[in-house]
Symmetry: C2
DNA sequence: TTGAAAGCGCTAACAC
DNA sequence: GTGTTAGCGCTTTCAA
């Protein structure tokens, strides 16, 4: 069906080897021969069989990204932004990107990582949403399989990562509210099994303490990172008296759920209750009121993570394999309608 | 490094052939032998080399999805939702999903499709955002390369697709506004090079005519599907007098940009000016005012597209290769604040 | 029930 | 400059 080197060789009357070298641009081929070969290749519509090349070269020129997602869908804008980053960086370096989704910590997921680490499925992996005692990191580290994580972890292995200083981000948010005069500040944390959930929660507790503010247990909730989860956590928080006057949410999606719930109560966000999120997803500026949040350059993080991985795969181990990015506070109306 | 069939064969003292058959579950292997082989395989941590298997089997068990995107990023939630659909369906059938991004109609994109069609890069492709005289469809059809499109086209080839009846969706929107008493209705169309842009525009013109309403040229704009594009088009529309009282946007993102611009003018969306979108992205319900729109079950469409492709790859050509889905109107506040 | 041999399409070491 | 040979790891006739 598709033309092979053999077809070209037969056509031109040379050996398969010569064709291979001519097309690969080796210098030890007579220009005349190369020309005839190139012509024939073009005429036959030759494209190399990638499987064959990969088997021979013992590399797939493919990167893997296993999305840890519960349920059938991921509506989390984080992933699309991140995929765009790694995808574009990968194609810049002629790598393909293989994407699949598996529930976090499922047998399914473990199997996928096994396959990657042992089956030459891909040349390297990108790991996101790092977890406490992350089994993925353990496995890959033990197999010395190339990978880069978005997120730190608490395991004994040292591994390359890009991460954002989540605790610092939360600190900015808390101090923003303190500066606005708030003292009754609530927090809706991401799941603490996730490392960034842990860091964000810790950042909240530390900054509250540093400012001499009390942490009311009823004002510290937890949500599953979705709008629905945010709304549910907000409902729980706000059913207690006295109410907090400000709510920091562990991510933007939960902040949107929170805003929605507050509005249902007939209260005014940014006036009666201040709200902030974390991530600065593209729509954060468009919801109403617009969302005060911490900017994470997800696209850029994706690119850097991917670039680092490609370096590692090609034996260029980075001098500094631990990138910790400094977050930026984005003040919008949800924290105070009067601002701006 | 990684264990191969040969390693197991040496270990157990049988031939590679026997190991292969034992592991593949063939019945012509003595149970005792199989057991020894399985034990050895487990102990050595054997995982088949996928490249080798693929080369031999002449199939990759991989599906390709080339995202047509301008610029460095795709913040369009459509893609993440769609990828989730195809990704999950693919993994259900043990297919991998290869994702890459290329600018529509670029040389780059053409090359990627060539590679797919001729280089045994993937077993089949999913094509989205079909275009007028779509070169991708032409190429794949001529090579009889398995693919399924999300969207129809105007080319001479007959090909399998899943699509939504965009014209019908717009009809629902126009008649919704007509029922609310609007007569001055504007439209911000998606690029007409895109087939759904064409259908949506046509749906608008037809329904306006059917209702005896004038189509004012200044009230028909076009945007690039982004918030920014929507805001720009809205600005152009609203600079004319008289102003329209309702604006139908070709997608939700543009509707959000439009809403934003209207609010900047100090006007009230759903009161001074009614706005509607198209797609029902997850956040449509969360923006303020919530967005009247046409629901497209993107996730489900992704799944069906993918399922159809897998059927085709495996020689099960569908009885009906043309799925046209009926859209649903979702009425929210942006079309009329008074409505629930 | 098992093994030998061939071949998927490509690359690379080595000879000529 | 070019060809011969071998081999990547696997599956699959075909014999034994």
């Amino acid at each position: 069906m598709a033309a092979t080197l053999k077809d070209i060789a037969r056509e031109v009357g040379v050996s398969v080897t010569t064709v291979s070298r001519a097309l690969a641009g080796y210098s030890d081929v007579a220009e005349a021969t190369r020309l005839r070969i190139q012509t024939a290749a073009a005429r036959l519509g030759y494209h190399p069989n990638l499987q064959a090349r990969r088997l021979q070269k013992q590399r797939t020129d493919t990167l893997g990204f296993i999305i840890p997602t519960f349920g059938p869908r991921f509506s989390d804008p984080f992933f699309s932004e991140f995929i765009a980053g790694i995808g574009n960086e990968a194609s810049l370096h002629d790598y393909d990107l293989l994407v699949s989704t598996h529930a976090p910590d499922s047998a399914d997921e473990a199997e996928a990582y096994q396959r990657a680490a042992r089956g030459r499925w891909v040349d390297g992996l990108i790991v996101v949403r790092t977890r406490q005692d992350d089994a993925r990191i353990k496995l890959l580290s033990e197999h010395s399989f190339p990978f880069v994580a978005f997120g730190r972890s608490n395991c004994e292995h040292d591994f390359p990562f890009v991460d954002e200083d989540s605790a610092e981000g939360i600190r900015l948010l808390v101090e923003h509210f303190v500066a606005l005069g708030h003292t009754k500040i609530a927090f809706i944390a991401p799941p603490s099994g996730l490392m960034f959930g842990h860091f964000r929660r810790q950042g909240f507790l530390d900054t509250m303490a540093a400012n001499g503010l009390p942490v009311v247990p009823e004002w510290v909730g937890e949500g599953d990172m979705s709008q629905r989860g945010g709304a549910a956590a907000a409902e729980a928080l706000l059913s207690h008296t006295p109410r907090p006057t400000a709510i920091i949410c562990g991510n933007d999606l939960m902040a949107m759920g929170t805003i929605n719930y507050i509005q249902q109560l007939g209260l005014k966000v940014g006036d009666d209750i201040a709200v902030a999120g974390f991530d600065d997803i593209p729509l954060a500026a468009y919801v109403s009121p617009s969302l005060t949040t911490i900017h994470q350059p997800i696209y850029e993080i994706g690119r850097r993570t991917c670039a680092m991985l490609i370096d590692i795969i090609n034996g260029r181990f980075p001098e500094n394999p631990h990138h910790l990015l400094t977050p930026t506070l984005i003040v919008r109306k949800s924290s105070c309608l009067a601002i701006d």
